[in-house]
């Protein structure tokens, strides 16, 4: 294997992990954009959705039917979480809301363990086995599949926000909830919609990564940190930024782990740290954030 091929192979590996991070980062960014909070439980909700899909498939439903059902359940679940768990603390200090999501994290994680145990579950792989070989660089179909779906989800979100009246309403709420109310927008419903949407995107993320990471209650815990890094890098408000950030973090992490001996695989978790720090010191609003995004 030549050095170049090897490098490219590493980049492909990085794209694979990056796609995983990006998919969860998308959901994080959605919630943050509409409610201004960082949802620690996002990964766990995605994990829960994945278990729903698993349960449906395990009880005999074909995967391609189970998927839309799961997405619908997740959408409703996300709205329900907003209504039951988040709204009661809506007026409280922001940190209180964040800690509520931490409580939700612990709760959902333990609940999944209680219901489905901590044994690894096999989750059907929607993409074909194997991969393609391009000039000695091997790419799994699953990597391509995840990247593709993430790109499609990102595109759909873009269309939703930029070209529909619901999207316009959502952006108005995200931008200035007070004025949105004065224009007659029912902000509460829009927030529920935002949580439902984020939960759906999270469910897509969970279903995509489950065949690769293997489904168990702690599946998303490790992804969360990287998804945070990806979202921060992308400015925490932009779906495109989240995806670019995720891919960037994945590639950077893999390359440093492979080529920088001082860092090595054990310290590569420090790479997101360095990236976040570097990005924020140079551009406090992230790569894709607007200058005004910087929050007090």
């Amino acid at each position: 294997m030549s050095a170049v091929t090897e490098l490219l192979q590493q980049v492909v590996e990085g794209l694979g992990s990056g796609a995983v991070y990006a998919s969860l980062a998308l959901a994080l960014v959605l919630i943050h954009r509409f409610t201004g909070i960082v949802n620690f439980a996002q990964g766990e909700l995605a994990m829960l959705s994945t278990y729903v899909a698993w349960q449906l498939v395990a009880s005999g439903m074909p995967f391609w039917l189970a998927l839309p059902v799961t997405l619908a359940v997740s959408f409703a679940g996300g709205m329900l979480v907003e209504r039951i768990v988040i709204r009661p603390v809506q007026g409280a200090p922001e940190l209180t809301v964040v800690i509520v999501t931490v409580g939700l994290f612990i709760f959902v994680n333990a609940l999944a363990g209680l219901i489905w145990s901590f044994t690894v579950k096999d989750f059907p792989q929607p993409f074909p086995d194997g991969g393609i070989d391009l000039a000695g660089v091997r790419t799994d179909w699953s990597t391509l599949g995840i990247l593709g779906v993430v790109a499609v989800v990102m595109g759909l979100l873009y269309l939703l926000f930029q070209h529909t009246s619901v999207g316009l309403t959502m952006r108005a709420v995200a931008c200035n909830p007070a004025s949105a109310r004065l224009s007659g927008i029912r902000v509460g419903r829009v927030l529920m919609l935002g949580w439902g949407l984020a939960a759906t995107v999270g469910a897509v993320s969970g279903v995509l990564v489950a065949p690769v990471l293997f489904l168990e209650p702690n599946m998303m815990g490790g992804v969360l940190i990287y998804a945070f890094a990806a979202a921060t890098l992308g400015g925490f408000d932009s779906p495109v930024g989240a995806v670019v950030g995720g891919v960037f973090v994945g590639v950077a992490e893999t390359l440093t782990g492979a080529y920088v001996d001082v860092i090595g695989a054990d310290l590569k978790v420090g790479v997101p740290l360095m990236i976040i720090l570097a990005v924020l010191l140079v551009r406090p609003q992230g790569l894709f954030g607007r200058a005004a995004v910087e929050r007090a």
């Binding site: 992990s17 145990s117 901590f118 991969g131 091997r138 695989a265």
Partner: protein, 425 residues
């Protein structure tokens, strides 16, 4: 004047509190510790009577390591089963389980609770190296037995300052030696790539392996670690693949084991002999990867995997399944951790049976003087043996290879003590 009032108030309150303390102090409970008479005179009999014995275990029921918490269910099921059959030597076992969330300070708190409040006879078991290491000084000082800790670090056996603590499962170094011996026999010039978990478990095994193969033609050509908090090991696997090694030693815990096996199967260009360590060798780990993808994978074991059909008619396995069904209906009998709990609990049963005195000292000495004790769920040929200079109850493992839909044992059980000599620090 203000000051005097405050002082006076304080004095009154202090006096009141001290009186209350004197009357109902809970500290006095230490006095309840009991000692034996007769031949065993002076030895501690706290937590044990002629009809009862109280044990306390500390497991991660919450937090990142909660997958292992289910061991407590296997243990509890065993004791309930034994109690229904009359108990251990006529003593009913009371088993108290506490949760430490895999956090050492919490383990210390719970150990203190078990010893000081629950007045347990012994702390059976603590799980994980950090939690065990955090409490063994305390238990040693209190002279409370800490038998059969649920961790395979070699330090429990090599240490000589903590006579009250002893391990049970084959230590990670012993397991590494089994693989080393296998490779020496089968592939004397192997180039080995190692994937290991970056903690005591992974490092102990890796270190033991390197030591065992030193001087032979076997080389470790690449090693990659991962953190338990990492989402996946695919990047590490890609790096190992670059090394071109012909053997992959896979030192992982279940989820990462599945990931590594799957990554190996996906990569059609690199086809090393895949050795997966015992912790991740359960059929439950292999099934999600797809049995067709794990053919020929090698591992070693010492107890019967409940998910393995070859033990379906084993009498002890049947007892285990029935008992688990009856006493822990929510626990999955196929989960190897439940079987582990059952096996370790029955091992303790055997050790308690051999006590000369029904005292804490008696148990301490009994677990250090086991002679070829057979335990139902352990593999044929694997027994518990300890003695002076040997504080490792199980040091024998047998190799197995995955074929079709199950593991097939091959070769003779490997007694690592015989092969490599006793393990020292």
């Amino acid at each position: 004047m203000r000051k005097t009032t405050a002082l006076r108030a304080a004095a009154v309150v202090t006096a009141a509190l001290l009186t209350a303390t004197a009357c109902s102090s809970r500290r006095g409970q230490d006095a309840q510790d009991t000692a034996a008479d007769g031949a065993c005179k002076g030895q501690q009999t706290t937590g044990i009577t002629d009809t009862t014995i109280k044990l306390g275990g500390i497991y991660p029921l919450s937090g990142p390591a909660s997958a292992y918490g289910t061991i407590s269910k296997g243990v509890a099921a065993y004791f309930k089963y034994v109690n229904d059959k009359g108990g251990i030597d006529g003593r009913k076992v009371e088993f108290v389980v506490r949760d430490d969330g895999y956090q050492p300070p919490k383990a210390v708190e719970e150990a203190r609770r078990l010893v000081e409040q629950e007045k347990v006879f012994a702390v059976f078991q603590t799980l994980g190296t950090p939690s065990t290491a955090a409490v063994w000084d305390y238990l040693d000082k209190q002279k409370v037995p800490q038998p059969f800790v649920a961790t395979g670090a070699s330090v429990w056996g090599t240490d000589d300052k903590h006579p009250w603590t002893i391990g049970w499962q084959p230590n990670y170094v012993a397991e590494a030696r089994v693989y080393a011996k296998y490779l020496k026999d089968e592939r004397p010039h192997a180039k080995v790539a190692v994937l290991y978990q970056n903690d005591d478990f992974g490092k102990d095994l890796l270190g033991g392996f390197k030591k065992a193969v030193s001087g032979s033609g076997i080389q470790v050509v690449a090693q990659e670690s991962y953190e338990v908090t990492d989402p996946s090991v695919s990047a590490q696997m890609a790096n190992l693949a670059r090394s071109g090694a012909d053997v992959l030693l896979d030192v992982t815990t279940p989820k990462f084991g599945s990931q590594a096996l799957a990554a190996d199967a996906r990569n059609t260009k690199w086809n090393p002999l895949h050795i997966v360590n015992n912790v991740a060798a359960s059929a439950a780990v292999l099934r999600p990867v797809g049995f067709k993808n794990v053919q020929g994978v090698v591992s070693a074991t010492y107890f019967k995997d409940p998910a393995d059909p070859q033990w379906a008619n084993d009498p002890e396995m049947k007892t285990y399944r029935d008992a688990l069904h009856k006493y822990a209906p929510d626990a999955d009998p196929d989960n190897q951790f439940n079987a582990y709990g059952w096996a370790v609990a029955s091992s303790l049963h055997k050790a308690l049976d051999t006590m000369k005195c029904p005292t804490r000292e008696g148990l301490r000495d009994a677990v250090r003087n086991l002679k070829d004790v057979k335990v139902g769920l352990l593999l044929p040929g694997v027994t518990l043996s300890t003695g002076p200079g040997d504080a490792f109850p199980i040091e024998t493992m047998q190799l197995m290879r995955f074929k079709g839909e199950r593991w097939q044992l091959f070769g003779e059980p490997v007694d690592t003590r015989k092969e490599f000599g006793p393990l020292t620090k």
